[in-house]
Chain length 316, copies 6
Amino acid sequence: MIRAGEAVNDIFVARDKQIAHKKDGSPYLTVSLVDRTGDIRAVAWNNVQAISKAFAAGDYVKVTATASEYRQALQLVVRHLERTDAAEVDTLDFLPATDRDVEQMLDRLIQISQTVENKHLSGLLAAFFEDKAFVDLFKAAPAAKRMHHAYLGGLLEHTLSIAVLSQSVCGHYNGLDKDLLLAGAILHDVGKVYEFSYETSIDYSDAGRLLNHIVIGVEMLEKKIASLDDFPKELALVLKHMIVSHHGTRDFGSPEPPKTLEAVVLNYLDELDAKVTGIRTFMEAEDPEAAWTSYHRILERFFFKGTPAASGTKED
Amino acid sequence: MIRAGEAVNDIFVARDKQIAHKKDGSPYLTVSLVDRTGDIRAVAWNNVQAISKAFAAGDYVKVTATASEYRQALQLVVRHLERTDAAEVDTLDFLPATDRDVEQMLDRLIQISQTVENKHLSGLLAAFFEDKAFVDLFKAAPAAKRMHHAYLGGLLEHTLSIAVLSQSVCGHYNGLDKDLLLAGAILHDVGKVYEFSYETSIDYSDAGRLLNHIVIGVEMLEKKIASLDDFPKELALVLKHMIVSHHGTRDFGSPEPPKTLEAVVLNYLDELDAKVTGIRTFMEAEDPEAAWTSYHRILERFFFKGTPAASGTKED
Amino acid sequence: MIRAGEAVNDIFVARDKQIAHKKDGSPYLTVSLVDRTGDIRAVAWNNVQAISKAFAAGDYVKVTATASEYRQALQLVVRHLERTDAAEVDTLDFLPATDRDVEQMLDRLIQISQTVENKHLSGLLAAFFEDKAFVDLFKAAPAAKRMHHAYLGGLLEHTLSIAVLSQSVCGHYNGLDKDLLLAGAILHDVGKVYEFSYETSIDYSDAGRLLNHIVIGVEMLEKKIASLDDFPKELALVLKHMIVSHHGTRDFGSPEPPKTLEAVVLNYLDELDAKVTGIRTFMEAEDPEAAWTSYHRILERFFFKGTPAASGTKED
Amino acid sequence: MIRAGEAVNDIFVARDKQIAHKKDGSPYLTVSLVDRTGDIRAVAWNNVQAISKAFAAGDYVKVTATASEYRQALQLVVRHLERTDAAEVDTLDFLPATDRDVEQMLDRLIQISQTVENKHLSGLLAAFFEDKAFVDLFKAAPAAKRMHHAYLGGLLEHTLSIAVLSQSVCGHYNGLDKDLLLAGAILHDVGKVYEFSYETSIDYSDAGRLLNHIVIGVEMLEKKIASLDDFPKELALVLKHMIVSHHGTRDFGSPEPPKTLEAVVLNYLDELDAKVTGIRTFMEAEDPEAAWTSYHRILERFFFKGTPAASGTKED
Amino acid sequence: MIRAGEAVNDIFVARDKQIAHKKDGSPYLTVSLVDRTGDIRAVAWNNVQAISKAFAAGDYVKVTATASEYRQALQLVVRHLERTDAAEVDTLDFLPATDRDVEQMLDRLIQISQTVENKHLSGLLAAFFEDKAFVDLFKAAPAAKRMHHAYLGGLLEHTLSIAVLSQSVCGHYNGLDKDLLLAGAILHDVGKVYEFSYETSIDYSDAGRLLNHIVIGVEMLEKKIASLDDFPKELALVLKHMIVSHHGTRDFGSPEPPKTLEAVVLNYLDELDAKVTGIRTFMEAEDPEAAWTSYHRILERFFFKGTPAASGTKED
Amino acid sequence: MIRAGEAVNDIFVARDKQIAHKKDGSPYLTVSLVDRTGDIRAVAWNNVQAISKAFAAGDYVKVTATASEYRQALQLVVRHLERTDAAEVDTLDFLPATDRDVEQMLDRLIQISQTVENKHLSGLLAAFFEDKAFVDLFKAAPAAKRMHHAYLGGLLEHTLSIAVLSQSVCGHYNGLDKDLLLAGAILHDVGKVYEFSYETSIDYSDAGRLLNHIVIGVEMLEKKIASLDDFPKELALVLKHMIVSHHGTRDFGSPEPPKTLEAVVLNYLDELDAKVTGIRTFMEAEDPEAAWTSYHRILERFFFKGTPAASGTKED
């Protein structure tokens, strides 16, 4: 934690870069500096033009500054600031990330994929996991911008969770095609590796906003299938259908609703995992003393975390 | 199966009783006779007044008749018909019922309830399962009029399924209160024992139409809790909340949406089990040769059951 | 009204208690002090730890302070502050309350309840009005947190209004069961006495957020009915139905819509009274000169109060 | 009531006129003949061309025929049929009509209109009631095609009911402009005199389908206002607003929602009267023995009329 | 037109094949025979097993039969019936088809595609039009199963119409990318060539029901783009976006709404052409004498075709 | 542009006038001063009562002041301020206005109106364009308060655009009544001349909020029609229907949906023009460098303006 008076010499992501003017008309620069622990306001009073030219919003920047206090908040007075190549930094220092072990999660998911007996589906899953470029993205990608698993590694965490749940459910109900459900569970969100950009911040990519991960995912599936021999046309259809329908209704972005039992199951497991994980994260970020969370704007309710306050009910 | 010319001497449920008139003005009686295998039209040409007075629609009736053919369909010409006391018949002969063993399902559910460690919840569940009048209804009740588990024993089957799924999910996620989830799963639909009438047909009861099983269920819970010592007020609140919110949204009849993690989980497991079971039943009732089911009016889609017809896609 | 420089020595409700730090690192405490006339910011520069330990947000506190001006607003510099027992203060001094006479309203409502001729319903109403604990809450409770009758005594005011309107409507239409409608009108919102907490501020209680006043109301009704002799089961059903359905649709929280004529009438009278009263209160709080109110966010419109401004229409 | 074998010599409304062909290729004519008591199928075997040319569907026709029985239903074998001028028949013999006294209802409505003190509004109402052409239509028009007051005189009955309710409500709440509310209540549905056609059957007119009675009503109001001296522009606006907004929301056809207190009240009284009257009529048309009505397709529920059947609840 | 007594010797599509039983228990076969002029019921009394084995529903069948009259309708009594290979018949004789010249429409569309100046888009369009397999399907496909252009050639007719309208709109507004809009207009519905099956009847294919033409279309586009050199990634994105978003909202099946000006324009032109053409077709199929059509169930209204009936309005 | 230290002597529109108090209790006045280039905060320290009495919010005011800087923003210190008669100023200096030539647009619209061949419609259009009071308003009115064409002259610009598009569409489809469509296009929004007030700011008028431009437009049409000889009743109906239905659905304020082909076309052209123009304006107001606009709150999406940022997609 930075304290007033300390010297600062570190790398940050730059955001909200702005040039303003003092009363005497001379310019100064303000910028928000972000790392994994939060953000701090910074200001450069001198060399404004030079500093400004040296970087753009979104860049990694190496900053030399002094911390001071202004209107009851800390700010950095910047003396030197220069752009740093993204390749030289470890993204994980700047973006929120899963606290679980990524390699372990990947191993477990691959093990599950190896229980698939249908040779075509098993071959398809192998083709994905042998594609190093894909796996690198798949290990890094978040599952969302907000709401749930909105951190690096979140997509893998979410996918593994649904794959495990799918195994339970297959043991529970008769008549489900276990191979199809597992393959669908593992592949349902692959489009998210391109739906988001997650180099210096987690946001939607152009492809994500213009096409949606459902469409991107079907394209990726089709490309991999085309690289395999004799993948049955019918099997490709029902597998793609699991991606197409996994949001359950058109309202949530699926062009068609689930029309096979396996697609119906996948939809509910996806909802279950997204909501449980998202709400749990929301609860954990709130005041641990309070019985209720603050209002959740998207889910439109307060959540109840704990022991009801005695003052709440007068029934006593 | 009844054939034209045969004598019939059996018990049925009477439906759609009507008096009509022949061209000469004399009356005759028509009635639909139902048992578990289906229904048949019956007509009484003689003793119409006496026969008519002897029973009401909805009654069990003992019928002596002869089968004949009229306009390419079989009908029974009734010679004698009298009301039979419902207590003398076995409902299971007249209504669709689960094909699983009711006592076994009940035993398994009770075993699960005994894994609950919280003494208040465990005591509450015991109080329900020791209440013979309740248990008799709970073993007989359907879970719905249509859609899913719409047969005698369906409520028990559905409840057991969700209890088992709840156990899996508790092992899967951290931070869930297993006892609360299990108790909620077991009790979430108890109101259905009074929401439906299922003596001579499965239909909504007056209480079901006027109050809804959610409200009835909370009342039943409150009554049992009041009979226990020192049941914590706070625990009663969060448990009742699981009943109140288990339909997920106001649109589906829950006055409040789920506001605890356990209530969120219960809602999705309830949806999952209702839909998987309902769609599977729907699929099984359809032409086994066809790749697609007929149109499902409530879920508003066709379901895909099997190998896609070659004619379906021209991509080959 | 407090002026800069004055000494203040009074009781308030404490809200938004926070510890902050000066540039030199030493702590200070800020808190919002509320009474019926509004709120004022207070700050304690000295004895911060001691003062902070002495109370919690939501407490009544006795404050000794001096008023000063800071950034064009008044604030209190606190010298002494201690918790006061809620039992020693008169809630009415700290919360908004009806400007009508509570005892008169209650008397009139009881008189109306005594015109009910059905002995069961009349007995039930008497049982409620003879229950002192209930009556005390019923006289104090608000009818809402915002929107309409959102003040102490509001529930009684709203209930009386609907009871009177019900009498008019019974005289107007044939075929209504007057006793049932009156009993439903008087009892429809009783669950609100526990849905809200209204000791130091008006807010939802835990029970209110988790169960909703509809469910709480049915429980209260059932408990009272159980204490009476021979209350007819059928009558209990249609009366509870009036509570269950009085919000009209599932969208507004009723698990079942109105299915009796009396329930249909109650729903519209409830809407009428809530809206007329809520809009009238909203209008009264606005600039008396302006023809239009500001935008009503929940009802999503501006309301027209008065003489249209000449500038508004160019048709002249 | 017509019996098989009787001669029939009467006037009906003709509906569903069709020419069909016998196996030998010769034509015959079928037509439905309607009067206030119901409808009967009629067939003409001879003189088919001549009879067919003599009338169109929707005409009043004078019929000479013999009743016979065909497939267990009565039908008329037509010997002679000719068109009758609508001016020669009394519409009330052929269409459902209010069973209340039209002149008495009109007198009472006029009396209420004379309690309006504002001279402009009072003059406007007088102008409507002195317009004989308008009054003739207003006395005859239905208030709807289905749902509520769907019979001759229904518009007057509905209007009077709302005017009376408005008087009650004005006595109940402070701050309402009684004259404005009464005028709005009396005029809110005047557009219905042109929205429907009700000469030989009750249906929407072209103007009704293309413009809606809200728009037609505003036009009628504007025309009458233009004929008066110095009607204040502002008063015209708020009065027209009552017509514009009386359906409450855009979903129900109001281009703007109610934005004055009086418009809010009118909307709820209109809903209340339409629903109470419509549901009561629906209940009365059903089996008087049954506790529940059949399913109401537009309101999407069964209605509960009476003593719950013992079989309905198992709680006993 | 077939008349009673005539011999029939022709090819039809078989539908609704069923085996029934006579009173004596012997089987007979009924089937519906369809060609472009309509359908007729056929029955086989003899050789039932042999005839039944010879064909399946959906097949083209060559039929030798005699027309007879049964219950006032014609039916064919089948003597001989055998399956015919689809390759031997001209689909156009059995399915509704556009009445415009398919080759002319195709030529005009290709000419429009050649006005595209961007070399990548122009190359892409050329690649589609040089793909003979695609062009054959594109010339035959319908644009819908019902609603609009629901006939062979309908897809081409609809596509051409939108391409022409796009040219007009590009001349009208500044700032539109004409090449992008034209390419999007021409390609927006290509997925429909696989969404429907249209060999013996117009219906959804398996791929259509499971994936939707939006997803299929993007796949087709991606495949063609992959076959071209250096197609710019950014251009591919915005072009695919036009397919993804052309239904305007998620409610209508677009995973993302239009986010470029060109996509916004395409969505409205698509709606305009679908509705104008669909409503015009609906109007043309109705009674030419009537001012109003029958009720359009999907668009939920009656349409006004012509001179209003004098009886409709009483304003005269 | 005003700079600190300069003297200001100019006319503005006054907004948000407020009296505040200094620490010593003496009053000062703040007001926002607006012209076409934006707004500036002004303060009067002296003569506060006199200055305050001299004007009301919404007035045009002549101001003598000095610019100074306060908290990094400019403000005017007012020495003298007096109300100016609206008649003396040119509205165009104070409100945003079209950048196209109003007279040229009007001429072109009149020319189009003269291509209408139906003598009644042509006479009606002439009557509007010969009504100087109407034309003056029609040339000045905006088409909206926000969203699209929200500037003086916007109504004319929007109307002309739709008229031109209507001509294209009439050439494109058979079976449209060109005269009816053109007349409807030209008149569909005439009610907006009274729906808005646009003297000192663009806002809804009382009539606009209470009646909606659809209802006002029908009234204006009826008034003009009444002034013509023998305008056919049927033609009036279908023309008014175009105004009534041009928003397409009840959700968007049309009491009836489009029921003629011409009304269907008008609705889509209106949507197309409003959206294309509104989105284009929104895009133009945004950062020209950015590929995406900021979030559009009403249309609920980001819009894509240009070359996708390289960083957006990782597919490379």
